[in-house]
C-alpha cells in the first residue's frame, strides 16, 4: 500500500468514526426517551395529574408539583423579564465603551458561569433568612430569576445588536429621542429574538431542582400553593424524591413525572425554535 492510499484509508476511517460520534449521543438519547416512556406512560392518567402526593406510590399524584412548577415559571418570568431586558438595552444602546461597561460585561459572563446551587445558597441567606421569607414560592422564584438573568441579558443584547444602524439613524433623523428610538424602533424589531432568549431561559428554570432544595422547598407539600407566599414543591424535586426511594413503584412514578417535565421543557424549546425561525424568515434587512 502506498503512502497516499494509507492516508486516504485513514481519512475514510475518521469519516466513519465521525458519523459514529455524531449519532452516539442521539442514540443514547433515543434509548433513554424510549425507556422512560415505556416505564412511565402507563402510570399517567387523570388521577396522576390531579392527585396530591402520598406515601403510597399507587395513590400519589403530581398536582402540587406541576402547580408549583407553573407558579415558579410565571413568577420568575415576571421578575427576570423586565430586569434582564432593561439591562440588555442599557449595555447595548446606552453604555459607552468605558472601563465600567467592560467590567459589567465580564461580570455578567461570570454570573452565567456560577453553578446553580450557589444561587441556592445566595437565596437561602438573602431571601429566606435576612428578608425572613422562609422556603416559599417567592424566595424560590427570586433565586431562579437571578440564575436566569445573565442568559436573558446576553440574548437581549444579541437580538438588539442584530438591528441595523440605519433603522436608528432613520429614527433620529425624524427627530426622535434616544428612548423613542429604542422603544418604537429597536425593541419591536428585536422582540422576537428577545422572546426566544427569555423562553429558553425559562426552560432552564423549569428543570432546576438544586437551588430550590437549598432554599428549603419541600418534597412533600400536601396542598396546592395559592399565593407566592405559600410553601411549594416543583416537578424536578418530586422526581428526585421518588428516584431516591428503593421501591420499584416510586421509580415508575418518577418516570411518569419525567414524561410530564420533558413535555413542558420540549414545549418551551419548541416555541423558542419556532419564534426564531419565524423571525429569521420575516425580517430581511
Amino acid at each position: 500500500m502506498t503512502n497516499s492510499e494509507k492516508n486516504r484509508l485513514k481519512d475514510k476511517a475518521f469519516q466513519v468514526f465521525g458519523i459514529f460520534c455524531t449519532f452516539i449521543g442521539l442514540v443514547v438519547l433515543a434509548i433513554f426517551l424510549i425507556d422512560i416512556v415505556m416505564e412511565g406512560i402507563g402510570r399517567i392518567d387523570w388521577d396522576f395529574l390531579t392527585s396530591l402526593p402520598s406515601r403510597r406510590a399507587a395513590r400519589a399524584g403530581i398536582l402540587t408539583a406541576w402547580a408549583g412548577t407553573l407558579w415558579i415559571l410565571v413568577l420568575s418570568a415576571l421578575i427576570a423579564f423586565p430586569l434582564g431586558i432593561a439591562a440588555g438595552i442599557y449595555l447595548e444602546e446606552y453604555a459607552k465603551k468605558t472601563k465600567l461597561s467592560n467590567f459589567l460585561e465580564i461580570n455578567i459572563a461570570n454570573l452565567a458561569g456560577v453553578p446553580s446551587i450557589i444561587y441556592g445558597l445566595l437565596g437561602l441567606e438573602l431571601f429566606v433568612r435576612m428578608m425572613n421569607l422562609g422556603g416559599i414560592l417567592l424566595a424560590g422564584a427570586l433565586a431562579l430569576s437571578l440564575l436566569i438573568l445573565p442568559i436573558i441579558i446576553v440574548t437581549t443584547r444579541e437580538a438588539i445588536k442584530a438591528v441595523p444602524r440605519t433603522i436608528r439613524d432613520g429614527s433620529f433623523a425624524l427627530g426622535a429621542s434616544k428612548w423613542q428610538t429604542v422603544w418604537n424602533q429597536v425593541l419591536p424589531a428585536s422582540f422576537g429574538g428577545i422572546l426566544t432568549g427569555v423562553i429558553l431561559a425559562l426552560s432552564r428554570a423549569v428543570g432546576e431542582a438544586a437551588p430550590l432544595i437549598v432554599i428549603g422547598a419541600l418534597a412533600y407539600v400536601p396542598f396546592v400553593p395559592k399565593t407566592p407566599m405559600d410553601e411549594f414543591t416543583v416537578l424536578p424535586i418530586q422526581i428526585f424524591n421518588w428516584t431516591s426511594r428503593p421501591q420499584e413503584a416510586f421509580l415508575t412514578n418518577a418516570a411518569a413525572a419525567i414524561i410530564i417535565l420533558l413535555l413542558i421543557t420540549f414545549l418551551l424549546n419548541g416555541i423558542a425554535v419556532y419564534l426564531r425561525h419565524r423571525q429569521q424568515k420575516k425580517i430581511k434587512w
Partner: protein
C-alpha cells in the same frame, strides 16, 4: 422631555448595575458564613484532614474527599465528552454536508436542554445496571455511571463551541492545505485544529466548570459517601451533593453544620470562578485575528 429621558436612562443603568450587586452578594454571603466556619475550624484542618464527617458524632472537616469526588466525576465526564465532542466538531466542519449540519446541530442541542434530574434517573436506573452486567464490582451508586452520563450531557457544549472555533478559521488556510495534497483528515488535524486550539481549549474549560458545578445528576447517581478515592466503582460524594444532602436534612440555622455548606460552596465558587476567568483570559489573549 429631557428629564424623562434621563430618568429612563437611570432606570436602565440601575438594572445593569444590579448584576454587580448580585456578584457582591454571592461573595459576601459565602465569605461571611465561611469566616464564621473557619473561626471554629482551622483552614489547615479543612485542607489537610482526610475525612469529611461534619454530620457524625466524631466530626472531621477535611474537604479533600469532596474535592476528590468532584474531580473524579468531572474527569470521567470530560474523558467521554472531549473526544466525542471534538470529533463531532471536526466531522461537521470538514466532512459533513451543510444540510446535514443544519439538521444535526439542533438535535444535539436537545441533549443540553434536558433537566439534570432526568439524567440522574437515567444514570441510576439504566446505565448503572447495564455497566453492572460486565463490571461485577460496581456499586449501585458510583462515579463511573454518573460521569459517563454527565459526559453525554456536555457533548453539545464542547461540540458547538469547538465547531464555532473551527469554522472561524479562514477558508484560505484549509484550501492551502488541500492545495498541498492533504486529505481532509490531515487538513483537520494539521491545520484546522491547531489554528482553532484556543477556542477548543476555552470550550473544554467551560465544560469542566459546568461539570464541577453539576448537582442533581451526581446527587442521584454517584452516592452520598465522602471518600478520598479515585476508584470510580464505589459510592462517593461531590461538593454539590453534600450541599443538597444537608439542605434536605434538618440542620438548625447558625450551627456549625449549617456553615459547612457555605464553606463547601465557597470552595466550589473559587474553582468555577478561576476556571471561567481562565477561559475569558485565553479567549482574549489568543483571539486569532485573520484579515
Amino acid at each position: 422631555m429631557r428629564v424623562q429621558e434621563k430618568i429612563i436612562e437611570g432606570l436602565l443603568w440601575l438594572s445593569a448595575a444590579i448584576t454587580i450587586l448580585i456578584t457582591l452578594s454571592i461573595i459576601w454571603v459565602l465569605l461571611s458564613e465561611s469566616v464564621k466556619f473557619f473561626s471554629e475550624v482551622s483552614i489547615l484542618r479543612f485542607l489537610t484532614e482526610k475525612e469529611w464527617t461534619p454530620l457524625f458524632a466524631e466530626k472531621k472537616f477535611g474537604i479533600m474527599p469532596l474535592v476528590a469526588g468532584t474531580f473524579l466525576t468531572t474527569a470521567i465526564a470530560i474523558a467521554v465528552a472531549l473526544p466525542i465532542g471534538l470529533t463531532i466538531a471536526i466531522y461537521l466542519n470538514e466532512y459533513a454536508h451543510a444540510r446535514f449540519k443544519t439538521f444535526v446541530k439542533p438535535l444535539l442541542e436537545v441533549l443540553a436542554t434536558i433537566p439534570t434530574v432526568v439524567y440522574g434517573f437515567f444514570a441510576l436506573t439504566v446505565v448503572t445496571p447495564f455497566l453492572q452486567s460486565f463490571i461485577p464490582g460496581l456499586a449501585g451508586f458510583n462515579a463511573l455511571s454518573a460521569g459517563i452520563v454527565m459526559g453525554i450531557m456536555i457533548i453539545p457544549m464542547i461540540s458547538s463551541l469547538s465547531e464555532d472555533a473551527i469554522s472561524a478559521v479562514p477558508r484560505s488556510l484549509r484550501e492551502a492545505a488541500y492545495g498541498m495534497g492533504s486529505t481532509r483528515l490531515q487538513t483537520a488535524f494539521g491545520v484546522m485544529v491547531p489554528a482553532a486550539s484556543s477556542g477548543i481549549l476555552v470550550s473544554v474549560i467551560l465544560a469542566i466548570s459546568r461539570a464541577v458545578g453539576e448537582t442533581m445528576l451526581v446527587a442521584i447517581a454517584a452516592g452520598q459517601q465522602p471518600r478520598l478515592t479515585l476508584n470510580p466503582l464505589v459510592p462517593i460524594e461531590t461538593i454539590t451533593t453534600y450541599i443538597v444532602q444537608v439542605s434536605l436534612g434538618d440542620v438548625p440555622h447558625g450551627s456549625l453544620e449549617y456553615r459547612t455548606i457555605f464553606a463547601a460552596g465557597m470552595t466550589l465558587f473559587v474553582f468555577t470562578f478561576l476556571l471561567n476567568n481562565l477561559s475569558f483570559w485565553i479567549k482574549k489573549k489568543y483571539q486569532e485575528k485573520y484579515d
